[in-house]
């Protein structure tokens, strides 16, 4: 237990020292976001310390039509609702989930 905690602390310090390091994350698209991007998912490389909001901006700059749903969607990180201010970690999965109205 104690060893593990020290390990993770070391890792964190290491990451903080290397701010040029980039992270690999994955974006998942649902509903309208799939129509607008033509994809169900895509990998994205972001710089260390990026927030979920930064990642979202990056993906919108790649697919400007996503701007349309920015005001009405759920943003989830690893299957949990996330505020845009959360810092992402390597391997995180971000999901853009606009509501569906059909029935």
């Amino acid at each position: 237990m104690v060893d593990k905690q020290i390990d993770s602390k070391d890792e964190e310090t290491l990451q903080n020292e290397d701010e040029s390091r980039s992270l690999q994350i994955k974006f998942l698209f649902f509903a309208r976001a799939r129509d607008l991007t033509g994809m169900t998912e895509m990998p994205l490389e972001v710089s260390y310390g990026s927030t979920a909001g930064d990642c979202l901006n990056k993906v919108i700059s790649r697919f400007p039509r996503l701007e349309e749903i920015r005001g009405c969607m759920l943003l989830a990180r690893n299957e949990e609702y996330t505020p845009e201010s959360t810092t992402v970690k390597d391997g995180d999965e971000l999901a853009i989930i606009p509501p569906i109205s059909g029935g």
Partner: protein, 472 residues
């Protein structure tokens, strides 16, 4: 020949009239059976069991040989529920005392209603103002061909009664609006949102919040579905998640985008499941979580969603929406979307840039005018049906394919010796006449100033020129 034809049509009329009578009688029987059952339930509750009355109906509650309040018929009917240790007599008894309102008897409402009727909910309300159409039957499995052209509520109520005559079915054959919402919803314990448009979803949410009713919300489009329980036990409501409505072009309808029938089927079944859990007080409802169904990849994800928002205009600390303000809230303005699900009818062009389908028929088919007809629908729509001699250039690709139009016009002008020398005409067509106007606007800007659109598109063609032309 004539007399045979007359005879056949007389027989057909008689069959139709007898069928109508039969339906009417069946409805009366189920209504009476339900009424009888209600009376007997009351008697059971009040402990006034009259054994004489009970002998007359084979589906009656019978004599209560035990203290759990369930008649022999009920014990037999719901035995598989009673055998479930986690559901049991208590779960069933709770269900029998509960009432569920299903708003929308379409793709989601159909399976939800069938299961709710079968499982023994005490009272089920159905709201819808639509009639059954042939193109509903691919997914709205509660309706049958015999009900085409008839009220969806009547059709769904008859199906529910034929499954379970001991459940009381209440028909609300009206559009769900702010004017009647509070009155209808206040009579039920649980609400199932099985509607198909954004303004209704906000309206139902707000109504449930001001009346404190749990809301089982399901949605389906294409090959995807979503499900969650709102306003349950301090959990979030629809507005907590989506305080700003979606832009109008993001708000798609099954009638435009299509839907695989079984997708709303799955979500509707899950809505019934959540409604049963909430009504029977069994299990852990899907509150604070959203289920996402991805039918194409065969994946179901459950995403944890945000908690209640203190700033929420419906359920927050200082709500704008209250019992008093709700009836005056304009959901059509709020969402920029009409409540009725009829198709959008745009008027983007002046009259001289448009022609009717009849006029097109006259000019082109009758007088043989030299022309190019561009069908701007997506390619998969074009494959369903198209007009002869049209070329398919989807609106989304039009800007990059203007040279094809120029070439087609030249080609057409060469074929004919044009007396006026004004070149071939250029017409745009689509399904309903919205995208064709957008296409003409684009073409006018690109210098194709003579381009016109065919008003009302292929639907108008089918309606006004060729009744045999398929619609979809």
């Amino acid at each position: 020949m004539d007399s045979n034809g007359a005879e056949a049509s007389r027989i057909r009329e008689e069959i139709e009239s007898l069928k109508a009578n039969k339906r009417n009688i069946e409805q009366q029987i189920s209504a009476l059976e339900a009424q009888l059952n209600q009376l007997e339930v009351k008697q059971v509750e009040e402990g006034e069991v009259n054994s004489n009355a009970l002998c007359t109906s084979p589906l009656s509650n019978g004599d209560l040989g035990n203290s759990n309040g369930l008649s022999p018929d009920m014990i037999y009917r719901y035995s598989r529920h009673l055998l479930l240790p986690s559901f049991g007599v208590q779960g069933q008894a709770n269900l029998l005392k509960s009432s569920v309102l299903v708003i929308g008897a379409g793709g989601l409402g159909s399976p939800a209603l069938l299961y709710l009727a079968a499982c023994g909910v005490g009272r089920i309300g159905i709201v819808d103002h639509d009639v059954v159409e042939l193109n509903n039957l691919q997914r709205q499995i509660i309706h049958t061909e015999a009900y085409i052209g008839k009220s969806k509520v009547e059709s769904a109520a008859a199906a529910c009664r034929s499954i379970n005559s001991s459940t009381q079915i209440v028909e609300h054959k009206e559009a769900f609006r702010t004017s009647n919402a509070l009155e209808i919803v206040s009579k039920y314990d649980v609400v199932v949102d099985a509607t198909d448009n954004a303004p209704s979803r906000y309206m139902i949410n707000d109504c449930c919040v001001v009346l404190g009713k749990p809301l089982i919300s399901g949605a389906a489009l294409g090959l995807e579905g979503q499900l969650t329980v709102y306003n349950y036990n301090g959990g979030p409501c629809y507005r907590c998640l989506f305080p700003t409505p979606p832009p109008t072009n993001a708000c798609q309808r099954c009638a435009d985008s299509g839907v695989l029938g079984v997708v709303p089927g799955v979500i509707g079944c899950l809505q019934a499941l959540e409604a049963i859990k909430v009504a029977s007080l069994v299990g852990e409802p899907l509150s604070g979580r959203m289920l996402l169904l991805d039918a194409l990849s065969g994946r179901i994800r459950i995403v944890k969603i945000r908690g209640r928002s203190l700033q929420c205009e419906a359920c927050g600390e200082h709500p704008v929406l209250t019992r008093q303000t709700f009836p005056d809230f304009d959901y059509e303005i709020f969402t920029q979307t009409p409540l009725s699900t009829g198709p959008l009818k745009l008027t983007l062009l002046s009259q001289d840039a448009r022609i009717s389908s009849k006029e097109y028929n006259e000019r082109v088919v009758t007088k043989g005018e030299a022309h190019v007809l561009v069908d701007v629908r997506p390619a998969h729509h074009y494959k369903i049906v198209s007009l002869p001699n049209s070329i398919n250039i989807p609106l989304s690709t039009l800007e990059g394919r203007l040279s094809e139009i120029a070439a087609a016009l030249e080609n057409e002008a060469d074929k004919e010796t044009l007396d006026s020398g004004s070149g071939a005409s250029l017409y745009m067509i689509c399904r309903r006449g919205n995208d064709s106007q957008r296409a003409v606007q684009l073409l006018h800007k690109a210098g194709f100033t003579s381009a016109k659109d065919i008003i009302g598109g292929l639907e108008s063609w089918a309606h006004n020129v060729d009744p045999k032309f398929p619609t979809y």
